[in-house]
Amino acid sequence: MPKEAPIVRFEHISMQFPGVLANDDVSLSVGKGEVFALVGENGAGKSTLMNILYGLNRPTSGRLFIKGREVTRHSPAQAIAMGVGMVHQHFKLVPSFTVSQNILLACEPRKGGFLYDFGEARKRVEALSQTYGLEIDPDARVDELTIGLQQRVEILKTLGRGADVLILDEPTAVLTPQESEELFGVIRRMVQERGMTVIIITHKLYEVMAVSHRVAVMRGGKLVGLHETRDVNQRILAELMVGRNLEEERPERAGAPGEALIRVEGLKVRSDRGLPAVNGLSLTVRAGEILGVAAVEGNGQSELVEAICGMQPIEAGEIWVEGVRVNGMSPGKIRALGLAHVPEDRNATGVSGAASVSDNLLAGRQRERRFAAGGIHMKKKAIRAYVTGLFRRFDIRGAGVSVQAGSLSGGNMQKVVVAREFSADGRCLVVAQPTRGVDIGAQEFIHRCILDKRNAGCAILLVSADLDEVLSLSDRVITLFEGRITGEFTGASIDKQDVGYAMTGGRSGEVGA
């Protein structure tokens, strides 16, 4: 591992936000040519620290050195000039712009002094993508690209600016395993071939083990550990992060699957863009069973989930929930049949950020007689008692139930969704991406909730981009490819390789059920 003068050095950095000390006296240096991983629970201050490096936040105290020079009055423009590039957790792309417009934003080629040079721009982007072996169509609109490709645009954007220090904030949270693997390939190549430095934030500890040279652990704004990656393992890291031991044991499965609660037959659904997304798909989920869906993003799993929950129109086929045909029913009616749903996108769908935590937890039950007299008059006391109960039971960490849900950290927001949906009285659950961007402490908690529900006799459809999650929780796994089922797997030890193969369209793993 390279041992040169550190390329980035934080000295006693603190960052005070109103009410939160996001970084507390952090001192850290990163060497040239290393892959440096930064881990910690939600809200530990990782993004803030990186934002300071990139000039988006100005630390309240401490000093920052880049390539040996102290930087004061830091700004993104200066960071770029000093060779620092950052791919943010939430992409910073202009949706309606083309790939090349985005990549060259603020360093556009000009002709005649002020006109944008479209031809030159295309050439530059093509050259860039060839140099780094990252293929991309320069003229595609960014909002029409898959998440993976959007991330590629982000990376090219930083590379195009000549970055040799690359910050990646949770780059794999939204990627499929294949895409993640590809990304790691790129990272390794960049570090080995070009001597670049990469700082990566992630919640997936196996990724830390797979790609990094050193790893720093943050908790509550403080740096609580700094290790050579080969000296630690996932378990040690996890304990450092959470500050306690994690129990790995899982409740045993209780009883055999019962009646079919969710049934889908010959389903065809079009995507929002009007393209076929689900293509004649049939499946059954039984009481006391978790059916996992493994698929690469964009193969119809989102539309499948939305169709079942009444949020996407059905083109053909039929869906039954609790024995009732739900084609064309509104989400509210389907919910009333006893179907709960954890949606894949918590920020846009799962919670209302502007509403209070209390409102979010109550949502859907507002007309129940115990909360609303005659279905009209809201009973404040009863609501408050119910909501605080959930808040405690699901260990949601925040300033209370009356704060805005949007002010919670990602992991706690997800707990709000889980608390609401898992406390529903029905027997059907559709769960999509339950632990995306959530730290491992919360992940463990959510997994427990899912298994408890199964043991209580619920039928659970689980969709996740995290293959390990699907495999470890599900009783049965199906793979989707281009809207069709390409494989079904059962049994105690499912071969990850087989599943991966089926996910990408292969049919070798087909097993009858």
Binding site: P76, V94, P95, F97, N102, L105
Partner: protein, 310 residues
């Protein structure tokens, strides 16, 4: 009917459209950076007042134009200061600007010129109007000449601005930055350009355009200042801006359409349609057109397989 479809109808269309075009282009710029300015009506009114003030007291139309631009600049900065720096709701600030302008111009008119209602110059303080420009060769072509030649300065400026702003918005990096600011400011910030600077730029440009629109109203279209003379043109400009999807040529067409309906309505009175009903026409047509534009846009986007608006 022959009386209705005359060259006068087209001239009327053009005249009615010009102040709206200037205003709508300004609003469009603020829309590009994501802070649409609903206070345009008031800003125009102030521009119109200061144009007359400058023209009278400094004794030339250039000074009048200068005063209107200066007023626009200040109002643009003011708008920017509140919306960008103080993070106020731009809708509230816009509405307040409209009230403020209404009060201020009347107050100043009464205290400075000592008259109420309208000021159209006096012996001592004549208003110097913007020059009319005759284009030599085109002016001789029958119909076209009458339309294209002999208009006041700012009419040509407005045409020029349509082209210039189109190029600016869609063919220059600066235009990209402004639109990026409206769509996703953080992307621009991360690229090293301050979106706030873009917002200020747009507010100021919008202010300057409001000055032009006002000056055109009081020194070009008319040669007087009257209380409340912007007469909701700023709101019509907002409609045109939305209508034209913030794309300069389309905004221009929208304003022309609006002007055409207004002009047509005026002439329909002569065949016996009640004036109160013809006055309704531009508003009703705008609603109908909005529906049509939105529907067509949806259908087209669905046809191309893109996401529909939600």
């Amino acid at each position: 009917m022959r009386d209705i479809f005359t060259i006068g109808l087209l001239q009327n269309t053009l005249r009615t459209a010009t102040p709206v075009v200037l205003a709508a282009l300004g609003i469009m710029l603020t829309d590009h950076v994501g802070i649409m300015n609903i206070g345009m009506d008031g800003m125009m009114l102030c521009g119109a007042f200061f144009a007359v003030l400058g023209s009278c007291f400094l004794g030339s139309w250039v000074a009048g134009l200068g005063a209107a631009l200066a007023c626009g600049l200040i109002l643009g900065l003011f708008f920017g200061l509140f919306v960008i720096r103080f993070k106020s709701d731009e809708f509230i600030i816009g509405v307040a600007l409209n009230i403020f302008a209404g009060g201020l111009t009347v107050f100043l008119l009464r205290t400075i010129f000592g008259v109420a209602g309208a000021f159209s110059g006096s012996e001592a303080l004549p208003i110097h109007a913007l020059p009319r420009i005759d284009i030599p060769l085109i002016g001789d072509i029958p119909v076209l000449g009458q339309l294209l030649s002999g208009n006041t300065l700012l009419v040509y400026v407005s045409w020029l601005l349509v082209a210039v702003l189109y190029v600016l918005a869609f063919h220059t990096p600066l235009g990209f930055w402004m639109r990026a600011t409206g769509e996703h400011p953080e992307s621009l910030r991360a690229a090293g350009v301050s979106p706030e600077a873009m917002k200020y730029l747009a507010s100021i440009l919008c202010g300057l355009l409001s000055g032009l629109a006002g000056a055109h109203l009081s020194l070009g279209y008319l040669t007087l200042f009257a209380e409340n003379m912007s007469a909701s043109r700023g709101f019509i400009a907002v409609a045109c801006c939305i209508f034209g999807r913030s794309n300069p040529p389309k905004v221009f067409l929208a304003a022309l359409l609006f002007g055409f309906i207004d002009a047509l309505g005026l002439r329909l009175q002569s065949v016996g349609v009640s004036s109160n009903l013809t006055s309704m026409a531009p508003y009703v047509v705008t609603v109908v057109m909005m529906v049509w534009v939105v529907q067509r846009g949806r259908r087209r986007r669905l046809g191309q397989g893109k996401l529909p608006d939600t």
